[in-house]
Symmetry: C2
Subunit: 343 residues, 2 copies
């Protein structure tokens, strides 16, 4: 049995990870869980999985102390695989701790690579840690690059649903409300990620993530709008072949791929997750270049600038979305705020 | 330099193979060519590539004698890779010869696997020969299965353009002329293959080819109609992931993949062949089950029956298409003739 630690166990990815564990009895032993909030669910999980160690933020505990306890949990000696499903920037320290410990990290926390992609990957390399992405796009890319040589990559093409506002004009976007922004057409996610999906800032972060995770230069990363979210990304190879990975929009698919991954055995698990029904698909693809939703543009700029530009982009977006959700700025004001912040 | 023999050098795949060779100077030395007809082109090829051995059917030479000379060419001691681009059933003997010689066979001749898939694959296995498919669908499948375990395959889904008559009613199909049948929407091919594409018999043969080439049982092979011919096939895996390989409809793409394939190095060549422009794509997929174009159905029946049923299907189709092209039978009469023949 693989011994597993789940950081952020009460969040969307955390609960789905435990769902995958639950549906494969005998495969995993949950030895640690951590949560920032949602104490009731946390208690239920603790009773169900009986982990050796369980960490939840105490009332009045400060961020740093809690984070330290999470990092200790993240590097439990016996752990075979650590799932980092923490939301936001708080996920970075545990990621670095797991890398230093040279363990296998199943990484759903995008901010780790956006804030410090280069250091994280360097540390992983130096300490023999493995980073297995949990997210539909990087999981797709990972699968497409298995057995391929880096020099065969001509382009990595990230697909983007375009969110709820794709193809709306600037005038229409100026009137977007919080309620509209929180209503994503395909995925059910937390509010921050849902707004990021509407602004295409989530795609911006994926561009940065892809750049570091797969060690490809930004000019080899493209974005294509694919409203149906069936194809989770493409890789264009130098010989004219183009690979794609598709799946039903269910996070348990990339979670399963990461949890069951074995470098030597190359196992894929047998599961009953929904399959994509091709016969009902009509797939379209559009270029996003001229969109008012300028998330991707900001990512390329940050990567070009280097230094702390990527981290600043991440922080700026976090603050901007918070302001938008509080009603302090308009939807398009998110871009204005970010641009001012990273200037 | 890889030493290469091209059988069927004046045909569509043969000339495109030499095209790939020509655009990569220093990579290949053509040491043998053979042709059944088109003497002028053959002479030009002989002058350009100066092969050690060149075989063309002499006036009045009988099939068997010519075939024997082709087989001798196919097993030239120095050859590193033999491309079998012979049209029709005549390709089988050279395929078997290369398998017995334990060489690398780049196989465009579909009939080899339709007539004798099991024996061909057994012989290849026994003698250490490698069979690398040259055709868009099996090349796509081959790429998708690299690094995957056989037990992870849930389904191989062959895409079919549907040919010029997809979605026509039985009444309309009864009136189809030879000229209409020879006008394929996407690919430019010889007359036999073009008619096979209109009847979906080409897909029938690909089902049989796939069954043997990748050693998957027929119940794991599906067909989906995909009018745009952008996706060349899908593989559905047991964990819910679905891979696809797309490419522009240019045979030089699968030819390049096979010619440059190196089991250890996993090299993909850099070429200037056309890339698929995703932003112009609108991809649709339909189930073919209820179509009047019953090619695939006949393949599943033949595979179920076993024995010489697959070979008979192949011969029956060859005769039927000849009769159709001569105006002796109607378009739908092709199915009637085949069903009567294989009874």
């Amino acid at each position: 049995m693989k011994k597993i630690v789940v950081l952020g166990s009460t969040g969307s990815i955390g609960t789905q990870t435990l769902d995958v564990v639950r549906s494969h009895p005998g495969e995993f032993k949950v030895i640690g869980i951590s949560a920032h909030s949602n104490g009731d669910l946390f208690e239920k999980q603790r009773r169900e999985f009986a982990p050796k160690k369980a960490v939840i933020k105490e009332v009045g505990e400060n961020k740093e102390d809690f984070n330290e306890r999470v990092c200790e949990l993240a590097v439990l000696e016996e752990a075979d695989i650590i799932v980092n499903a923490i939301a936001g920037r708080a996920g970075l320290q545990p990621t670095l701790a797991v890398c230093r410990a040279g363990k296998i990290l199943a990484l759903a926390n995008k901010e780790s690579l956006v804030m410090a992609g280069e250091s994280v990957m360097n540390s992983a390399r130096k300490n023999g840690a493995k980073i297995l992405p949990i997210d539909s796009e990087p999981s797709a890319i990972w699968q497409m690059l298995e057995g391929e040589r880096p020099e065969s990559i001509e382009k990595i093409i990230l697909t983007a649903s375009g969110g709820p506002f794709w193809s709306r004009s600037r005038e229409q976007l100026e009137k977007v409300t919080k309620e509209q922004a929180l209503n994503h057409p395909t995925w059910k996610m937390g509010p921050k990620v849902t707004v990021d999906s509407a602004t295409l800032m989530n795609k911006a972060f994926e561009i940065i993530e892809t750049r570091w995770l797969f060690d490809v230069p930004p000019e080899k990363i493209d974005v294509v709008i694919h409203r149906q979210s069936a194809v989770h990304s493409f890789v264009q190879f130098t010989d004219g072949n183009l690979k794609a990975v598709c799946a039903a929009p269910d996070m348990r698919v990339p979670i399963s791929y990461a949890l069951f991954y074995d470098e030597k055995k190359k196992t894929r698990v047998l599961n009953k997750l929904p399959r994509l029904d091709l016969s009902k698909m009509n797939m379209t693809f559009e270029k996003p270049e001229h969109s008012v939703l300028e998330g991707p543009k900001l990512a390329y700029e940050a990567l070009k600038r280097g230094g702390d530009a990527e981290g600043k982009l991440c922080i700026a977006d976090e603050i901007a979305v918070e302001k938008f959700l509080k009603g302090e700025i308009l939807f398009l004001g998110i871009y204005d705020f970010i641009k001012e912040y990273i200037k």
